[in-house]
Symmetry: C2
Subunit: 95 residues, 2 copies
Amino acid sequence: MEITFKAINDPTRREILVFLIGGAQNAGEIAKQFSMSKPSISHHLDLLKQGNLILAEKKGQYIIYSLNRSGFELVHAWFQGFAQYFEFPKPKIRL
Amino acid sequence: MEITFKAINDPTRREILVFLIGGAQNAGEIAKQFSMSKPSISHHLDLLKQGNLILAEKKGQYIIYSLNRSGFELVHAWFQGFAQYFEFPKPKIRL
DNA sequence: TAAATATTTAAACGAATGTCTAAATATTTA
DNA sequence: TAAATATTTAGACATTCGTTTAAATATTTA
């Protein structure tokens, strides 16, 4: 959980996730989207993978990345408690 | 947006948010929940406030904190793109 | 008004983070 | 097999982050 939220925290990593909504891509194509060195992107991809937000599949000399449902499910589950709160707010404590 | 994700990134701050699902509380009561100094909690509360995840209302010498819908709406909106990608079941409640 | 209570602000500091360049690993192609 | 391509790993470095103690601000109570 900790590592998943951490992965989502960085703006570049969030952009990578949004980019992958368009479909799976190899590391080079992902890196092209950003004005940042390939090693930096590689590092971000590693963190996203650790957070179960993306999957990596080796295909020849390429590594193809795609969104991973598992990390998003975790975040979604955490959010449910708040969704319920805003629908059924508990009375606030008066001090 | 950046500051909202940053606010959610820290585990103590997420615990504070979950604690506030139980209802609004003043800073002292919130601090009691954690084995951490009051200034640290105060700092966390400030970041949560900056991220529009909580509201602060001064009541005499106390400051009462409560969940703020606005920050959660922002994160939820970001999340929607992925929910659609994975076809998550739609919540009855629209955040 | 003085003391007690509630909370924040300030300053300091080690740990974690994001970035870079250079080097290493793996695969494909000539 | 050697060169080219794709990607990661390693090491370094400045910045940001989370924490603490001490001091400041605001409010209530005696």
